[in-house]
Amino acid sequence: MFLHGPSGCGKSTLLSAIAGVVEVPKEAMRVADQDIAALRGSVRDRFRVDHIGMIFQVFNLIPWLSALENVLLPCTFSQRRRTRAGDDPAGTARRLLDELGLSDPSLTSKQAHELSVGQQQRVAAARALIGKPDLILADEPTSALDEAAKAAFVELLARECAEAGAALLFVSHDRGLERHFDRGVDFQDLNRRAA
């Protein structure tokens, strides 16, 4: 799903609500058949990493970890993601990076801050996808990319999500990207209906 709207209309807040970071009323939000508001504290944190992968706009990676280590982070904190990443999570991470166009071993072992913005976004996508979470939340991940790179990245992301069987909620103010998605929703429409 593609969710678009101008800056400041509440897109990122909605993503935070879905991820269970901001409080919502009970039964207002269900993720992977779970009422997110019914979960408390560390249970909600664990649910988030087990079921949701996230891609940010910029500053997506831990700068002092290598690309491969960044991809493997969810497997460090989530047993479910680690199990679903297969017997060899590092191998799975390399395969994901390879499919996202980062096959060069010298790139995967580089520290994140040494990569270009486009490469960083692809590493962030691989990290969101590893361990096959049910939902990928992407918060304007293409805003730092040029037009050609934007389209290529979105296509790549959509294809990987389809292969992993994950739902993709892609938030952007750039309506030009809507054609890559099954559904497009104008956030301002949602706000108007809610009002």
């Binding site: 935070s16 901001v22 504290g41 002092w64 904190f77």
Partner: protein, 435 residues
């Protein structure tokens, strides 16, 4: 979490390194000050062990102790040989050793005494003096015999048979050499770790002889009554020394002090009173332990000031760590948000900060111990040579381990300030930080 903290700190290794340095310096300083104090106290206490009473011309007990046991300073006018004999003949006295002072050998104090010194002196919890080479001098041996302490021998490469010349006064540099009255080394003492290592012992007769020989040129030809204005004015009548006597051999007119050992230590206060009340000679009888306690009372203020400074440096090190951890928090907000998005709870991020502080403090402690060990290794010979202090490369004692533990806990406590900030920040920021 530890590996993660190490990687994170390595990423900020310059600032983290400075923090570790600050902590390590404070650790080395705190433990160094403690060791210096303990070393000084042990060295002093060991040097005076076995002596029940020190009798010297009336003066301050600390001054008498410093002069007679450590060869620092003087005891004023000498006491008469009659007083020594009176003391020696007291029924409660087991032994009495006469002490003459006031000369130096290349900066090291020269003590005039007799063979009884080597027989009765005890150090480091009751150990007698032993020889590394040669033999002690005796009353029936040559007058120009000398026994040197281990440090004097090793510093100047002395061995039995070597001829040495002493100088007047107690300074390291002297222009008044007794080169007309040389001594021949008869023995070299084994190391004791006390002030004895830094002393040169000569016979009473030898000590007197060299001053008798110098009296003539020192006298003022215009004023025959003029006496040298130093601690040896008591020797102006050396020409009148009488022959030898059984026991002590040569009997000088005046001596500087007497070490006394008692048959029964419970009589020490009675003898002290008897000495203090002796009308013919103004004498003081000093209990070494009491004088040491008085000395520690005097130096206590300086010790406390040094300790306070050392702890202030430690506090500055801790504040430096809090500043370093806090200053990086804002730039690390996105890092924490990413960690939260991949499953790290606020508690785990709190633990990350505390672990980082623990790593920094532990590294500071280890580096501090290394610094202390290196500093001890380097300064030990210098402190030993100049002040007679032996710090020693000891294993760390219970008190030192307790101090280290205290500093470690202080480091963890200090880290709670930035850790609590991070905890609140990661809860409030959630996953949507905008930089």
């Amino acid at each position: 979490m530890l590996g993660f903290s190490l990687r994170s700190l390595w990423n900020r290794r310059f600032v983290a390194g400075l923090t570790v340095m600050a902590i390590s310096l404070s650790v080395a300083l705190i433990l160094g000050v403690e060791r210096l104090r303990d070393g000084a106290r042990d060295s002093f206490a060991n040097s005076a062990s076995g002596i029940d009473l020190i009798v010297a011309p009336r003066s301050n007990p600390v001054q008498i102790l410093m002069a007679t046991v450590f060869g620092v300073g003087g005891t004023g006018t000498g006491m008469t040989w009659e007083s020594f004999e009176w003391l020696e003949d007291r029924p409660e006295v087991a032994w009495a050793v006469p002490i003459q002072m006031g000369d130096n050998h290349r900066g090291y104090p020269v003590i005039g005494t007799d063979a009884a010194y080597f027989e009765h002196f005890r150090h480091s919890g009751g150990q007698p003096l032993s020889l590394a080479a040669g033999g002690f001098f005796s009353s029936d041996g040559p007058d120009d015999a000398a026994v040197v302490g281990a440090e004097v021998a090793s510093r100047f490469g002395y061995a039995p048979g070597a001829v040495i010349v002493n100088a007047h006064g107690s300074g390291e540099v002297s222009f008044d050499l007794h080169d007309d009255a040389p001594f021949t080394i008869s023995g070299v003492l084994a190391p004791t770790g006390t002030a004895v290592d830094r002393m040169v012992f000569v016979t009473l007769e030898g000590f007197d002889t060299l001053h008798a020989q110098e009296d003539a040129p020192l006298a003022d030809p215009l004023d025959p009554a003029d006496k040298p204005a130093d601690g040896h004015d008591e020797h102006e009548d050396h020409g009148e020394h009488e022959g030898t006597e059984a026991g002590h051999g040569h009997e000088p007119d005046r001596i500087n002090a007497v070490y006394v050992g008692l048959i029964d230590r419970t009589n020490v206060l009675g003898l002290q009173r008897a000495v203090n009340e002796r009308p013919s000679d103004a004498l003081s009888a000093v209990l070494p332990a009491v004088a040491l306690a008085e000395l520690w009372g005097i130096t206590g203020t300086a010790e406390r000031a040094m300790c306070l400074m050392a702890w202030a440096v430690a506090l500055a090190g801790m504040i430096g760590m809090v500043v370093m951890l806090s200053a990086t928090l804002d730039t690390r907000r996105r890092e924490f948000a990413i960690l939260r998005s991949v499953g790290a709870t606020p508690t785990r991020i709190f633990a990350l900060i505390v672990t980082e502080a623990a790593v920094l403090t532990a590294a500071g402690l280890i580096l501090g111990l290394v610094l202390l060990t290196v500093a001890t290794f380097v300064t030990d010979p210098i402190l030993s040579a100049r002040f007679g202090l032996r710090l020693g490369l000891n294993v760390f004692g219970a008190r030192e381990l307790a101090t280290l533990f205290l500093i470690f806990c202080a480091g963890l406590l200090a880290s709670l300030i930035p850790a609590v900030r991070v905890y609140r920040m990661t809860l409030a920021d959630g996953l949507s930080v905008r930089l």
